[in-house]
Amino acid sequence: MPLLEAAGIKKVFGKLTALDGAALTVGENEFHGLIGPNGSGKSTLMKCIAGAEVPTQGKVSFVNTDITAFTPTERARAGMSLKFQITSVLPTLTLYDNILLALQAQCSLLDLVFSRTRGLLHDQVMTMLTQFRLADRAFDAAAALSHGQQQWLEIAMALAGKPKLLLLDEPTGGMSLEERRVTGELLQPIKQHCSLVIVEHDLDFIRDICDRLTVIDQGKVLASGTVSEIQANKSVQEIYLRRA
C-alpha cells in the first residue's frame, strides 16, 4: 500500500478548473517531485493534499485512511506536515521558540500550562536547529534571519513533529545557488524516516534529490515515473522540458 494516494482530484474555482482528475501516489521513504509549467495546478494539488483546499471531487488516502474531509489539524495529527510556499515562520519569536512551538503541538493542555514538556523537548529543539545549521542563532528573533535561513527554519519546524510525509511547496524559491545546494544536503538525511512531496521550478534541484516525478499539465497528469523515465518521455520533453 502506498503512503499517500490521491486519485481523481478535481478542483474548480468559479469558472476555472484548476485540477481535472489529477492523481499522485507516493510510497514510503520516497522523494517525489511535482513539476509542471506555471499555472498547471501543482500548488493546488499540494493544497488539496495538505487540507488547505477541499477538492471538488476525488479522494485522498493517507496511511490507508480516507482523509479527504480531514481538517489540517487532523492531517497533522495523522503524520502529514506542510511547508508553505510563502515563509510563515513566526518572526517575533526566537528560533528556539519557533521549533518548540512545532514540537509541542500534540502535548496535552496540562503539559502546556505547567510547562512540563519543555525540559524533555530541549534536546530535540537543539538537534533540529543543529541539523539545519541554525543553532548559533537559537535565541535570535526569526525575523533577523536571511530569507534562505527562514526557509530552513520552516523546513525544520515542519519536520519537528516527525511526520511520515512532508509537503514542500517551492522550498528553494528566492535562494542563491549555494543555498539551494545546501538545502538538498539538508533534505537527504530525512529520507530514512519520511517521504517527501516537493513542488519546485528548479529542475536540476528536483533531478538531484527525487526518486520519482509527476508532471502536471493543465490540471491533469501528463506523466509519472522515475526521473530517467520522465527525462526520456517524449511528450514531457516537448511540452515542458524543452520549453524550460
Partner: protein
Amino acid sequence: MGAAKQAVHADAGGEIDVSVVERTAAAGRATAERKILPIVEGVVLVAALLAPLVLQDYLTVFATRVIILALFALSFDLVWGYAGIMSFGQALFFGSAGYGVALLARDLDITNIFLVLPAGTLIGLTFALLLGGFLLLGRHPSSVIFVSLGTLTGSYAADRLARGWYYLGGQNGIPSIAPMSLGGYDFTEGPAFYYLVLGILVVVYLLCRFLVRSQFGLALAGLRENEQRIAFFGYKAQHLKAIIFTIGGAIAGLAGSLYAFHEGFVWPNMVGVVVSTQVVLYVLFGGSGTLIGAVIGTVIVEGVSFWLSDNYRDIWPIILGLLLLLVILFRPLGLISFVLGERERVGSFGAKPKEKRNAAP
C-alpha cells in the same frame, strides 16, 4: 560571537560542536535579556501599595475603582493581546457578573465575599463559555469579523435586555446593593476595600503571568501571529481560543462583581458597548500583549479623564480622544513600548532549559 558564528558555518559540512553552539547561544541570550519588565512591575506595585497613604479619601475610592478596572483590562489583554481574539463585548461578562451578584445581594441577602466573588467569576466564565463556544468552536476557524461582530452584538443585546427588563431594574439598574461582607465586617469604600482589590489584582496578575509565560503562552503566541500555521502543526487552535476566551470571561466576571459591590449599584451601561470599548482603549493605550501595559493603560486613561473632567468640564472627551488617537498612531504597541523592547515584550516560554556544560571553560 561573530567569529563563533563563522566557525559554525565553516564547520557545517562535518560534525558540529554542540557545546560551542550552546554556549554561544546562551551568551547571546544573556546580553539580550535586560530585564525592564520586572522593574516596571515593581514600581507599579510599590506605587499602588503606597497610594492610600498619600491620597485623600475620595481619591482612594477613585483608585479602588481604577484597580478593579485594571483587573477587567487584564481579561481583555489575555484575549486580544495574547491570543489575538478581538472581543468587542468583554463588558458582557463584566456586567452580567455585576448584575448576578447584585441580584444575589438584593433577593437572597447573600453578600459573603467567599460566595459572591466565586459566583461572579462563575457567571463570567459561563457566559464566555457559551458565547465563545458558539463563536469560536466551529469545525473551521471563524473569521476575525465574525468574532468581533459576534461579541459586539452579544454586548449590545445584553445592554438592551437589561434596559427593558423590569426585574433587572430597567434603565435605572439595581441601586443600593448591600456591602460585601466577611463575618461581621462590611467592605465599604476606603482603604480596606482598596487593599482587598489590590491583593486580588496581584494574585490574578501573577496567575496570568504564569500562564502567558508557559508553553501554553507559546501556543497562544502562535495563535496570535499565525493561526493557520499552528493548525498545520496539529494544534487544536479553536479549542485554545475557546479556553483563553473563557478564562478571560472568568476574570472579567470577578472584576464585575467587585465593581458592583464597590459602586453599590449596577446599571445597563455595565454590560454594554461603551464599557466594552473602554477596556479596548485601556489596553491599546498601555500596550497590548504585556500584562503590566494593561494595568498602566487603565490607570492613565482613568487618571487623565478624571483630571480633565475636573479642569475642562465641557471638552474633556475630545482632548482624551485626541490623546488616544496620538498614542495609537505613533505608538501602536502602547505607552509601555517607550521603555520595553520588542524582544523582551515577546519574551520566552516555559522554564529555562538547564544550561549544559556550564563548567566548561
